[in-house]
């Protein structure tokens, strides 16, 4: 696998609550995360809200600047070259309601200064066809389209500059159930035909299982486990990964109360717990977890699976 994106000890900290006479506090949204994405690979980022998955995706897309660490794309610092593009969760707020769809889709090319107006129009026409929107879509406004069609417009905009990596932040969760599979199929088709790599941020584990090659689990800004899809779903190593898998509702599974439900809520990233940040909710936690932060380590005999836990399974 040749590495497309290389994230090395990335931290993203935000100053919050600072005033004239108050120093403010530091919110540690992403804390020393390292991971790689290969060419044509789909890496899924999962975790609860507050886990840092959206922030990490925004850094990769160039919308946020990391506080520390390196993010390299093909060995170089990220530039606005159109090679990494983003698809957002809500297709209703992600498209400018006053722009024609054709102009929305063409905008990345315009900003990059690629081609003449006529050439751009032709590429927009081809792109609109590829995402299976009606041919006259370019001359209409976003409000004339349904949620699923708007997400197709957003995908067309993301793909027009021929990117190699797409960051998709919960691209299905604002869509109706019967529309989700349509858009999911489209994303997978385009990924195959254009040899794209995908950073797929999602809370829906069934969708992640369907689309991902590898899965990274974040908790309170830390990477707690990363593994191939099948390994992660069949033999999760970190107790948090196991808890997430157990919490996901399943068809045909009658609710057995409290059996494996994770207690409590994700703590504040402004004042994270000592030691292992998961110890406040972990069924396995002991004294060492409260004092020493575990490091991400490869699991013996399980290639490609890494976990940060004193009591890895």
């Amino acid at each position: 696998m040749s590495v497309l994106l290389d994230i090395d000890s990335m931290c993203v900290h935000f100053k919050v609550g600072a005033g004239l006479f108050k120093p403010g506090k530091t919110l540690r949204a992403v804390e020393k995360v390292s991971l790689k994405i290969g060419e044509n690979e789909t890496l899924a980022l999962v975790g609860e809200s507050g886990s840092g998955k959206t922030t990490l995706g925004r850094v990769v897309a160039g919308l946020e600047v990391p506080t520390a660490g390196q993010v390299r794309f093909r060995g170089e610092r990220i530039q606005s070259s159109g090679k990494i593009q983003m698809v957002f969760q809500d297709p209703f707020s992600a498209l400018d309601p006053r722009m024609l769809v054709g102009d929305i889709v063409a905008e990345p090319l315009r900003l990059l200064g690629e081609g003449t107006a006529a050439q751009r129009r032709e590429r927009v026409r081809a792109m609109i066809e590829q995402v299976r929107l009606p041919a006259d879509a370019a001359d209409r406004y976003p409000h004339e389209f349904s949620g699923g069609q708007r997400q197709r417009i957003a995908i067309a905009r993301a793909l027009i500059s021929n990117p190699e990596l797409i960051v998709a932040d919960e691209p299905l969760s604002a869509l109706d159930v019967s529309i989700q599979s349509q858009v999911l199929n489209l994303i997978m088709d385009l990924k195959d035909s254009r040899k794209l790599a995908l950073l797929f941020v999602s809370h829906d584990l069934a969708v992640v299982h369907h689309i991902a090659d590898r899965v990274a689990v974040l908790y309170l800004g830390r990477l707690v486990e990363i593994a191939g899809r099948d390994e992660l779903f069949s033999r999760p190593s970190h107790p948090y990964t196991r808890a997430l898998l157990d919490a996901a509702p399943r068809i045909g599974a009658r609710r057995t109360r409290g059996a494996s439900t994770l207690k409590g809520e994700i703590p504040s990233p402004i004042n994270p717990p000592s030691g292992c940040v998961f110890h406040t909710r972990c069924p396995k936690a002991t004294d060492i977890c409260r004092s020493a932060e575990p490091v991400l380590e490869a699991l013996p005999d399980r290639p490609g699976q890494w976990a940060a836990c004193h009591f890895k399974e």
Binding site: S178, Q180, L205, A206, A243, A247, I251, G252, R254, E265
Partner: protein, 331 residues
């Protein structure tokens, strides 16, 4: 398997009985039925799941059951709460009923709770209104109610305003408000949709636990089939304002009959059966302000023929407790 409260079968009427419920609006001189002839009933201690996509009428059905349908909506049919007919009842009768006999939990606790009133007072208010308690006693019971839904330090939290609580805690607080007067019916409209999966699991556990303790009937509305599958005893599938299928939960998922139900289940990625391409239901949910002739799903249905496009199918009994509205299912 959770233990359900066992209720005597005879005598007592269902906690909620809805018959031929229709909610219609006038739109540009045309009558638009957003809920059309919906019927179901829920016994005490049981949970009915209502599943469907946006625009299928599931939220309007639950608002009608609470007497909260918009004022310009025409509600007809029958809604019986613990045996009493509520369609056509006065606003006063509805106000006496809401919170006491039927209560509701909404998707977005932040917009459903009053932001300028403490959590404790919002619970006490219900007790003062319906139980005629004094404020002091109502506040004491409010703290107990918060404790019963698993909110830590309930006496302190009772003095907090909603914005101080996390999403999961707010949803617990809303459940405490809804259950303060031990209603016979709890209507829960997408109560876990805004929550993380881990917190969703906690809130579902809480609802099951409270039902075991208080024995209320639950009408649980969700677009999420997996959540519905875990919590419901019986399921109603709605499409474009109509009930298209109704069956016991296990049966609905093992042998779905309506092409829409089948489509919904098939389109979900299933970790047990991984496929390269997911099956899809073509098209999108129709707008309701058109003249429907025939089956409302016909435009997206692979099986549809001229008969389907001309004649609206009735909900008919197919197997024990399994109802379906489709010309293409052999009844």
């Amino acid at each position: 398997m959770s233990q359900k409260l066992v209720m005597p079968e005879a005598a007592a009427p269902p906690a909620l009985e809805v018959g031929g419920l229709t909610v219609a609006f006038e739109k540009q001189g045309r009558r638009v039925e957003v809920v059309s002839g919906v019927s179901f009933s829920i016994a005490a201690g049981r949970t009915l799941g209502v599943v469907g996509e946006s625009g299928c009428g599931k939220t309007m059905t639950s608002l009608a059951v609470m007497g909260l349908a918009p004022a310009n909506g025409q509600v007809s049919g029958s809604i019986r709460l613990a045996g009493q007919e509520m369609v056509g009842a006065s606003e006063r009768a509805w106000a006496d009923s809401r919170g006491a006999r039927a209560a509701m939990v909404f998707q977005e606790p932040m917009s459903a709770l009053n932001p300028v009133m403490t959590i404790g007072r919002q619970i006490a208010e219900v007790l003062v209104r319906h139980r005629r308690l004094g404020w002091r006693e109502a506040h004491e019971q409010a703290v107990e109610a918060l404790a019963s839904v698993g909110i830590p330090s309930p006496a302190l939290r009772a003095k907090d305003y909603p914005h101080r609580l996390s999403g999961g805690m707010r949803q617990r607080a809303m459940i405490a408000i809804a259950l303060a007067c031990r209603p016979a019916v709890l209507v829960a409209d997408e109560p876990t949709t805004a929550l993380d999966v881990t917190i969703q699991a906690q809130v579902l556990d809480l609802m099951v636990e409270m039902q075991e303790r208080l024995g209320m009937a639950i009408q649980f509305i969700s677009h999420n089939l997996a959540v519905i599958s875990e919590i419901a005893d019986e399921i109603v599938v709605m499409y474009a304002g109509k009930v298209v299928e109704k069956a016991p939960a296990d049966e609905l998922f093992t042998s779905p009959l309506h092409p829409y139900t089948r489509g919904l289940i098939e389109t979900l990625p299933d970790p047990q059966r991984r496929v390269a391409r997911l099956p899809v239901i073509p098209g999108a949910v129709p707008k309701l302000d058109v003249d429907f002739r025939g089956c409302r799903f016909a435009g997206r249905c692979r099986l549809a023929d001229d008969h389907c496009r001309a004649v609206s199918p009735e909900l008919e009994l197919h197997a024990a407790d399994h109802w379906v509205a489709c010309h293409k299912v052999d009844v």
